[in-house]
């Protein structure tokens, strides 16, 4: 397979490449597998900076990153429309789940429609912890509330941490509250949490990752060639195969599903 | 005599493996002035600190009959508050002069008018009222010493422990304070233990004098007794008996002994038996010196002929070394030295009374 590609014949002129990536890909360990592969194949040296999707795009806008790996489709579309990016490719997805205390005071267990679950939580005024950090996950959650026609922000039962998924899960667990999380982080932390998966499987809970090449006009210091190479690599069959197999060994199920070339 | 106010048994302090203090017995009598003298490093300050319950020592200590712990712990607080100490080095607190003087009283709970009155009184007495608001860091050496004194006297304690209290004071002040101290002590029944290097201070103030040598109280007795009859050669040397002559008692009768020193006969008041080897001590200031015509001799006992070997100028006094077979040190006033026109080589006669020669048996 393509993983056996020989190293690049000539090292690139500017090998340094800054990748602003979501924390979930970094924390799950996926990048720890993919990036060495890429570096070996191409001779680039990638600096993966794990930040929320919000900060990742802010860095892109300022030309501080060469390439972004994000999962906030609405912002990404705006980002592209603003001319900040030149190339955006679908890489993979995983899914969000709604988790909550075993007691399930809002009664959302078994529901498969996220909107219904959100309505019930709001109706029962059960505690809900939001990341509130403008990350991909956070933006997705906000969108679901909007679609359910609920103004959650500012309600006494709606808490925002402004932090990453790990901390937010902990807070939810301790407060016996509901929250929305990506499956990977939940699986990794499951054994310390008093939270169960209650709602899953809705199409609206799909968490889609794109790789975006930043507009090289942003700054004359942008490594455009490297960005394009990484973008190409992420959708290459070799990388896609690794993505599909990642996590099976540890959790018995994959954490990500390769999507390269699929329609949006 | 009434009960001693402080009594110590077998007091010992060891520093770095060396016995710095070793006092089998010491009693400080109620109301007396006990002056401790001794060479540098002999343990005087150490003794004072032990008596002040500030330095743990082996041994037993009683204060007005009550046993006290020599460790400076809580049990000693009650006794410490009945004493006051002036340390050799005035260590003032980083606050105003007035606050420094107030501290001891405040710690004892004195408040209000009484406090103010006593502070003002003692600031006045030590001539530092104008410095009340100053920081101790800006004081001159003598001014700091006065604050240190005021700080101790203001608590009007039963026992005052003073470590060279007048060291950096100017002479007029020193004399005035010594006079004041005497009258204060006469009025109150304050007990004083005072360490000093000033022989005149000791003579003027002391009821008793203790001579400290290498951590031991080599002699402790009434002032006159110590200065007239030092207990050993070392004590004699330290308290300024510079003439210590090796001799042997030739005969003795009715308390008067004749001693042979270097072939000359001296008369001394003593009960020592004939043939006892002795040291004859004569204080330089007890010897009179007069000019002698060249060649004139004298046969009178305790009247010796000699010539001036050396003259040391000691300010208002001259220290004259007379060679009369053996060297004899004589102190004369600068005045009379000038009058006699004394110079090295001058032919002189020296004389002293039988009571001025003190015999110590030697081993």
């Amino acid at each position: 397979t393509s993983t056996q590609l020989s190293p690049a014949a000539t090292p690139p002129a500017n090998p340094e490449l800054v990748l602003a990536t979501t924390t979930s890909t970094q924390d799950s360990g996926l990048l720890d597998v993919l990036i060495p592969m890429f570096e070996k194949q191409t001779g680039y040296r990638v600096k993966p900076i794990a930040v929320g999707s919000g900060q990742a795009m802010a860095m892109g806008e300022r030309g501080e990153a060469d390439v972004l790996l994000a999962h906030a489709p609405d912002s990404e579309v705006k980002f592209m429309a603003g001319g900040h990016g030149v190339d955006r490719k679908l890489v993979m997805h995983n899914d969000f789940v709604l988790v909550g205390p075993g007691g399930d005071p809002a009664g959302i267990a078994g529901l498969t429609v996220a909107k219904e679950a959100f309505t019930k939580i709001a109706g029962s005024k059960s505690l809900f912890v939001s990341r509130g950090d403008n990350s991909g996950t956070d933006q997705w959650e906000k969108k679901l509330w909007r679609e359910a026609g609920i103004t959650a922000k500012g309600q006494p039962w709606y808490l925002e941490t402004g932090q990453g998924m790990g901390l937010t899960l902990n807070v939810a667990s301790e407060k016996a509250a509901y929250t929305m999380t990506d499956r990977g982080t939940y699986l990794a932390m499951r054994q310390h949490l008093h939270l169960d998966i209650l709602t899953e499987g809705d199409k609206s809970l799909l968490n889609v990752y794109h790789i975006i090449v930043v507009n090289p006009n942003k700054s004359d210091r942008i490594n455009h060639a490297g960005a394009q190479a990484l973008s190409a690599f992420m959708v290459s069959p070799g990388a896609q195969q690794v993505i599909g197999e990642f996590g099976i060994a540890k959790f018995g199920q994959p954490l990500f599903f390769p999507d390269a070339g699929k329609p949006e | 005599m009434s009960q001693p106010i402080i009594e110590g048994h077998d007091l010992q302090v060891v520093f770095g493996g060396r016995k710095v203090l070793d006092v089998p017995y010491l009693a400080v009598e109620q109301g007396e002035v006990l002056v401790i003298v001794g060479p540098n490093g002999s343990g005087k300050s150490t003794l004072l600190q032990v008596l002040a319950l500030l330095l743990p020592a082996a041994g037993r200590l009683t204060f007005a009959g009550e046993a006290v712990n020599t460790r400076p712990d809580k049990s000693g607080l009650h006794f410490r508050r009945r004493m006051a100490v002036v340390f050799q080095e005035p260590l003032l607190l980083d606050t105003s002069v007035r606050e420094n003087v107030a501290t001891g009283l405040k710690l004892r709970g004195t408040r209000g008018h009484d406090l103010e009155r006593r502070i003002s009184l003692w600031l006045e007495r030590f001539g530092i009222a104008h410095l009340a608001a100053r920081s101790p860091r800006t004081l001159s050496g003598g001014e700091a010493q006065r604050v240190s004194l005021a700080r101790a006297f203001v608590v009007e304690p039963e026992v005052l422990l003073l470590d060279e209290p007048f060291a950096s004071l100017d002479l007029p002040t020193r004399y005035a304070l010594m006079g004041d101290l005497k009258s204060v002590l006469a009025r109150t029944s304050t007990t004083v233990v005072l360490v000093t290097h000033d022989r005149d201070e000791a003579l003027a103030l002391a009821d008793r004098v203790g001579v400290m040598l290498s951590g031991r109280l080599a002699q402790i007795d009434r002032t006159e007794a110590v200065f007239r009859s030092p207990a050993s050669e070392e004590v004699a040397a330290f308290i300024g008996v510079e003439n210590v002559l090796r001799g042997k008692v030739a005969s003795q009768q009715g308390g008067l002994a004749w001693v042979v020193v270097e072939g000359r006969i001296l008369e001394a008041v003593s009960e020592l038996a004939p043939d006892t080897p002795v040291l004859a001590c004569v204080r330089p200031e007890d010897i009179t010196l007069s000019l002698r015509r060249a060649g004139e001799t004298t046969s009178a006992r305790n009247r010796l002929a000699g010539h001036v070997a050396r003259i040391d100028d000691r300010g208002s006094q001259w220290r004259v070394v007379v060679d009369c077979g053996f060297p004899l040190v004589v102190l004369i006033t600068r005045q009379s030295g000038h009058e006699m026109g004394l110079a090295p080589g001058s032919e002189v006669a020296v004389a002293f009374k039988a009571t001025a020669a003190h015999l110590i048996p030697r081993a």
Binding site: V51, G52, G54, Q55, A56, M57, A58, M59, G132, D133, N134, S135, L159, E160, T161, G162, Q163, G164, L167, N170, V171, E174, K175, H194 | Q49, A52, L54, L55, P72, K74, L77, R80, R81, A84, V85, F87, E89, L91, L93, D94, T95, T103, G104, L107, R108, S135, R137, T138, R151, V155
Partner: protein, 232 residues
């Protein structure tokens, strides 16, 4: 650097407009860190004095522990406090996690070694004869401690400032044990982190500037006291 100017402008507006949330966060930061500092002074000053003045076996190990305490990583402290306060943890019953009280506890753990170490160093530098002098003046043990501390007040005020500065600017532990819950446990530093995370750099800088101003005000107050008490 445009970001910095944006931040300064925004900080100005946040304060002038009287943004209620901003003021709340400032108040909470001050309260939590102030309380933690007070507690560390209450524990650290006596402890430091004790370590500075007495000799006992194991004293050096204790001093090393205190010095180590200055290097306690806030995240590790946060983690340990979290584990302790978890429902499954030994103090889970207190329901203290994600409350300002928990933050005070964590910040106290961070600040008191600093206060202790500063106190220790400054008490040790005092002339050892000073203790004897104070005892001789008739001081009880406690009176002596108070007088000694008055003598060492200069470095002690520095200790208070170091403690306060360390905790008010600290983020790792506050985040972990407080959870940065808006309106409940978010403080300036945790808000800065979340603004940064959102990519809202200007707001992050604005809050940072407000925090700096707060610390500067505190330090100016302390410096003034400190330098006034010492005539040149």
């Amino acid at each position: 650097m445009d970001l910095v100017w944006d931040g300064i402008a925004q900080a100005f507006w946040l304060l002038v407009r009287g943004d209620r949330e901003t003021y709340q966060v400032i108040l909470r930061s001050t309260q939590v860190s102030g309380m933690a500092t007070v507690l560390s002074v209450l524990v650290g000053v006596p402890l430091g004095t004790l370590l500075g003045l007495s000799r006992f076996p194991g004293r050096n190990v204790l001093i090393a522990l205190v010095n180590m305490g200055m290097g306690l990583p806030p995240v590790v402290v946060g983690l340990l406090v979290v584990i302790t306060l978890w429902r499954s943890g030994p103090l889970g019953g207190l329901h203290m996690l994600y409350t300002p009280q928990a933050m005070i506890a964590a910040q106290f753990v961070l600040a008191f070694p600093l206060v202790t170490a500063f106190t220790l160093a400054s008490v040790q530098q005092l002339n050892p004869k000073l203790r004897t002098q104070i005892l001789a003046l008739g001081a009880s043990r406690w009176q002596m401690l108070l007088l000694l501390l008055r003598e060492a007040r200069l470095p002690l005020l520095a200790a208070v400032m170091a403690g306060f500065g360390a905790v008010i600017s600290e983020v790792g532990a506050s985040l972990m044990v407080g959870g940065n819950i808006r309106g409940l446990t978010n403080v300036l530093t945790t808000d800065i982190v979340s603004a940064t995370g959102r990519g809202d750099f200007a707001r992050a800088i604005a809050l940072g500037i407000i925090l700096l101003a707060l610390v500067y005000a505190a330090s100016l107050a302390i410096t003034t006291i400190q330098q006034r008490t010492r005539p040149s």
